[in-house]
Each structure stands twice: as structure tokens, then as C-alpha cells.
Symmetry: C2
């Protein structure tokens, strides 16, 4: 992998990442395809949304369909029919958030599958084997996540273990990783500034091609998240890509970019879409809202996605109310496109040296609109 910062504007950076399956222009939003599919979307639709890289998940693919099948299929790109870059998360977060009866020791994580209750034991070495078989362009080291309300001592413990696992991940990756793959480390440290600094020091000390920020967007306040991003921005190496894991709403993406983040991923845009919640330049909109019954405008008049170019709010509302899958699809296409475009437009603004103005203008309208939608919702809920 080659990465370089093409331009910066304040702390915001426009970068270019050359991976074996294609070039990724940063800042970038990466749609999430947990089970080797971005929920409701086809690879063709992801191309049309101009996705340059998507994310998948070692934990999920290991449990189902299993890595033997993905290896036999020729890797995840061929398995799912997606020729552009893929990043796989290592599963540290899923062990924390999904698995049952987990027991974490320095050796690894023992847990029960959330699907069938079967027992599993993942170590950094085993995770590197799994990610090698999956064959993503970027693979993540195995890390330990803790809850947003974890104590200082718990966060410290997880941080030290994450460092230990980062070293073992790197050593194992050097043996089993495929030559075209790139390994990223993950920084932990919760919402404690000194622990974030310590984690960066240790993980950068191990040495990776890119650095992910784990343990944020897990329930902490926005203020705490931004405070941590500010600290991290000052200590992460400038010349490596920075990836803020699990962030996927417009305001957080823009704050992240402002504080030097290059990559984002989140299930929120597709999950929200399946609940009829869509982004617009004027804030979030609930497509089930009665006020949209006769609204023959697109979801967002400035959006160029398939949903906005061809269908009205009234029609998509009908689909959602009728339980029709096309409704989930159109909302998902829109939300994914919206975040991809947001990062692309942020990049253009950085290249033009006016990111601060872009962010201010976007958020001013977005937050004002959110307020108006809320008021409309209140009125219409009385009908």
C-alpha cells in the first residue's frame, strides 16, 4: 500500500491510498458489508454510489459462511463480486458487542457464537489466518474493546492487551498475510487523554501502515469523542492513514475530517435506511412521516443517487408503509451515496482550501433543517 497526503487545510487532509484493488481517495466513507454484502445493495449499486472501498468483518465471516468457503471461492472480492478494495475488521469489536459468555485473557478471546452458541477461541494469530484467507486489501490487527463507561483501570488493561495483541498480530501477519495485503493497528484508550497518548505511543511503536481509532462511537458523549480526536490528531503520524471506526453520521464525519481523520465506516446509514430514516441536506427525515404523503419531491433535491433521480418521497413512503423491500433499498442507496458524497465534497473543499467554510455551511443548513423536520414531525404526529 502507498499513502500520501495530497493537500491539507488546517488539520483536514486530502489523501490518496493505492491498494491492490484500486485507488482510494480520502477522506472516504466506507459502506459496511458485514456478511459479505452491504445490506440491501448490490455491488453494481455500490459502484454507482461511487464507493471506492467497502468494509467487511472477520468475526462474522469466520462464523458464517466460514473461511474455508471464502478461501475456496478465491477470496472475498470474488466471493461477493466486488472488484474494488475491501477492509476487514478483525472482530475485536464484535467479540465485545455480539458474542456471548466471552472470556478475555492475554492469550485470546473465548466466546460463544451469537448465531448458534458454538464455542470459539480467537487469538491474534488465528485472526491473522482468518483475515489472510478472506483476502481483504486492508486487514485490522486484533484488539480488545471495552464499554464507553469502563473504568480507567479496565481501559488501561484493554489498552495493554491491545498492544500485546498488536505485536502478535504483526508477527503473525508477516508469516501468513498475503503479499498484497496491508495491516493496520488499532489505538484504544477510551475517553482518557493520557491513555490515548500511551496507546498511540505503543501501537505506533509496533509500527503499522495505518492507524485506526477504536473504542470511540461506542456510547460516549460527542464532546468526549471530539476531545479524544483532538488529542489523537496531535500524536498520530502525519504520513499514515487514520481511520475512525464506527463513525457514520454527517456531523461526526465532518468533525473527524477537521481533526485529521481520513477514513470512516458505520452501519448506521444502512440500518437507519431500513428504518425509513434518511439524510438530507436539511437534516434527517423519517420517510414514514404523514407530512410526506403527497410530497412528490425526491428525498434530496441535490442528490444524484438512483433513488433521488427516479422516485418521490410519496412513493418511497408508500413502499416503507407497505413493507416493500424496494423501500429499504432506495433509502439505503440514498444514505450510502449521501455519506460517500459528503466525504468527496469535503475532499474537494480541502483541495480548494475552504474546508472550514464547507463544514460551516453544511452543518448550519443540516442542523437548521433537522430542527424544522422535528417540528413537522410533531405537527404531523398529531394528525
Amino acid at each position: 500500500m502507498k499513502f500520501h497526503v495530497v493537500a491539507s487545510d488546517g488539520f483536514a487532509r486530502a489523501g490518496e491510498m493505492v491498494l491492490s484493488h484500486g485507488v482510494v481517495h480520502t477522506p472516504v466513507f466506507m459502506p459496511v458489508g458485514t456478511q459479505a454484502t452491504v445490506k440491501t445493495l448490490s455491488p453494481q449499486e455500490l459502484l454507482e454510489a461511487k464507493a471506492e472501498i467497502i468494509l467487511s468483518n472477520a468475526y462474522h465471516l469466520y462464523l458464517r459462511p466460514g473461511i474455508d468457503l471464502i478461501r475456496a471461492a478465491g477470496g472475498i472480492h470474488r466471493f461477493m463480486g466486488w472488484e474494488k478494495p475491501v477492509l476487514t475488521d478483525s472482530g475485536g469489536f464484535q467479540v465485545f458487542s455480539l458474542a456471548k459468555l466471552r472470556k478475555i485473557t492475554d492469550e485470546g478471546a473465548r466466546f460463544q457464537s451469537h448465531i448458534d452458541g458454538s464455542y470459539h477461541f480467537l487469538t491474534p494469530e488465528r485472526v491473522m489466518e482468518i483475515e489472510s484467507a478472506i483476502g481483504a486489501d486492508i486487514v485490522m490487527a486484533f484488539d480488545q474493546c471495552v464499554a464507553a463507561d469502563a473504568s480507567y483501570a479496565e481501559v488501561f488493561d484493554a489498552l495493554k492487551r491491545t498492544t500485546l495483541w498488536a505485536k502478535r498480530s504483526k508477527e503473525a501477519f508477516e508469516k501468513v498475510g498475503q503479499s498484497y495485503q496491508t495491516l493496520f493497528g488499532i489505538v484504544q484508550g477510551g475517553i482518557f487523554e493520557d491513555l490515548r497518548r500511551l496507546s498511540v505511543e505503543e501501537i505506533v511503536g509496533v509500527g503499522f501502515e495505518g492507524y485506526a481509532i477504536g473504542g470511540l462511537s461506542v456510547g460516549e458523549t460527542k464532546q468526549d469523542m471530539y476531545r479524544m480526536l483532538n488529542v489523537l490528531n496531535s500524536v498520530l503520524p502525519f504520513d499514515k492513514p487514520r481511520y475512525l471506526m464506527g463513525v457514520g453520521v454527517p456531523e461526526d464525519i465532518l468533525y473527524g475530517i477537521e481533526l485529521g481523520v481520513d477514513m470512516f465506516d458505520c452501519v448506521f446509514p444502512t440500518r437507519a435506511a431500513r428504518n425509513a430514516l434518511v439524510f438530507t441536506h436539511d437534516g434527517r427525515l423519517n420517510l414514514r412521516n404523514k407530512a410526506l404523503e403527497y410530497d412528490f419531491r425526491p428525498i434530496d433535491e441535490e442528490c444524484d443517487c438512483y433513488a433521488c433521480k427516479n422516485f418521490t418521497r410519496a412513493y418511497i413512503r408508500h413502499l416503507h408503509r407497505s413493507g416493500e423491500i424496494l423501500g429499504l433499498r432506495l433509502a439505503s442507496i440514498h444514505n450510502v451515496t449521501f455519506l460517500i458524497r459528503l466525504a468527496q465534497r469535503a475532499r474537494e473543499a480541502i483541495l480548494e482550501g475552504n474546508f472550514a467554510e464547507f463544514k460551516r455551511t453544511f452543518l448550519s443548513r443540516y442542523q437548521q433543517g433537522a430542527f424544522l423536520h422535528m417540528m413537522e414531525g410533531e405537527v404531523s404526529s398529531g394528525k
Copy 2:
């Protein structure tokens, strides 16, 4: 509407139907978009499947979202973003199969909505208003369906009422129908030859631009269905399109074509797809079958649909097992494409004068394959 039979081969006919939104080449399979969407598919995908006409349903659209909205949207084509021809069924079958507490009199049908239990009363006149507002190219007269095991007397009663309603539908359509719309009549008569003959005599006596065969594919035996088609073929006017309602498996489509039918529709291909059941030239295949776990072939090697050109059985199986919507989509795209192509290939065979050979070859392989799939399923279910 203009229709003419371009060529015939035995009783099989190749026709051309010119409607206001486009030309339909018959024999044709019409995908069903009950709620103004063909389940899981986008209009773009229907175009790629080369659908020339789709079906929607007055009963469903009247109940939800309501015809005021569809009228305000500019009709169903604009509402759902589909520019090619549409046919709306009148709702006679849905009143029979879905509505609750229905009471049928000569005046009309009183029933409770299957959605919210609200009370409704539909008459031929009201249905014509509804179908005019929906704005399909072809609209169906209001008819009364009865169950496959109805007695001779019950079938006779429904037949006479269907004739009465056909007359009133036609009179009402002449007042409220839009100038570009075409009205088809529906023949009833159950599985009684003399009643089928009587119904044709009466409905043709009223006079329509096309004739649908109702009350078949409702649970009767295949033998009874084919027997009725044979009778109908001998008495329906040659120069008008003939539409066999609710038929949508390959063998019935081919038998129907052989007996002079031009148009088919059915929810089966999309409903089966959502249950992982797909058509192939070698019979039906259940995509959840364990035997397909490492099967890296497409669903059908001879199919040119998006699913078959880009994805393996192994991947689509994974999607179905994981509850992923893309799995439902790919199976639906395939099944709809498969039936559309089957009708198109039948048309080519008719034009070349070798329909009988085409049918024999197709069914021989299809039925042999079905047997083999069944054996595979038995073996794999023991794993």
C-alpha cells in the same frame, strides 16, 4: 390498443400488442407488482430483465396508498417510475382470496380490508373509477371468483354475476376510462366445460379488446386446467389477446402457449425466490440446499440475468442463510428473467415453426433435472 397475431404454429400464437406505453410481444410473462412494486426489484432491473409489461392490482392500490395519491402522482407509471405498459387486475380475485367477511350480491362486493379491517364496497362502476385513476394501459373488468372446489351451482352463479358485472364494467369504462386505456373481460366457469363455453359466449357477447381466463390456477388439478384451456382455445376469438391469470411456472406457461394463450402473470416466481427457490433449465433448485455450499456455478449457466452473470450459487446460498436481502433480490431477478425469457424463446420458436419441438426439449430437460435435484436434496438432507 392494437393487437394482431403475427404467426401461429399449431394453436400457439406469436402476437404484437401496441399499447400507449409501448409494444408488447406475445406470448409474454408479466411480473406482478401488486403494491406498485415488483417485490424486491427496481424498475431498472425489470427493464434489464426485458419486461415489456407488468401487472398491478386495483384492490391493493385502492386500499393502500389509495387512489387519490396515485391520481395526484399522475398515475401509476409516474408513481412507481415505470414507463412501459401496466395492466391492473380489478380485484375480483383479491376480494375472494384476501378480504374478510365478504358479502357478494349482484350489486357488488362488501368486505373488510385485509390490512386494517375497514369496511369497503366495490361495484363494477367503482372499480372502473379506481382503475381509471390508477391509469394502467390495460384494465380488467370486475369479476367474481369462486374456489376450485365450488359446486356447479356456485360456479354458475358466479359466472352469471361476472357477466352482469362485465356489462356494467364496460358501460362504466366507456364513461370514466381514460382514452388511452383498454378494457379486458374475464371468463369464469370453473372446471366445467359447458360453463366455460357459456361464459365465453356471454363475455364475448359483451365485447372486449381482450379476454382473460379467470378461475384457473386456483387449486384445481393440472389435468383440469389443461382440459379447460383446450375448450377455451376452441371458442375464444382468434384475433384478440388471451390472458391466463395467475399462471407462472414454466410447464404451465408452455402448455398455455400450446393452447393459444398469449399473456401470463403470477406472483410465484418472486414469492418462490424469496423462499430461495429458483428455476433452472434442469428444474427447480432450492438455494439453501447444503449440496450447493461449494457450488461456484451460477444459478443457471445459460441465463444472462445480473444474478447469473455475477454471482455463484455458493454466494447466493450464503446470502439466503444469512437473511440478507441481496439474496432475495438475486433470486427474484433470476426467476423473473427466466420466465420472461421462456416466453420470448417460445415466441421465437413459434416464428420459426418449431414450438412443439421447443416445448418438448425444454420440458424433457426441466423435468429430468427436477428429478435429479430432488434426489440431491434427499442425499444432502441426510448430512
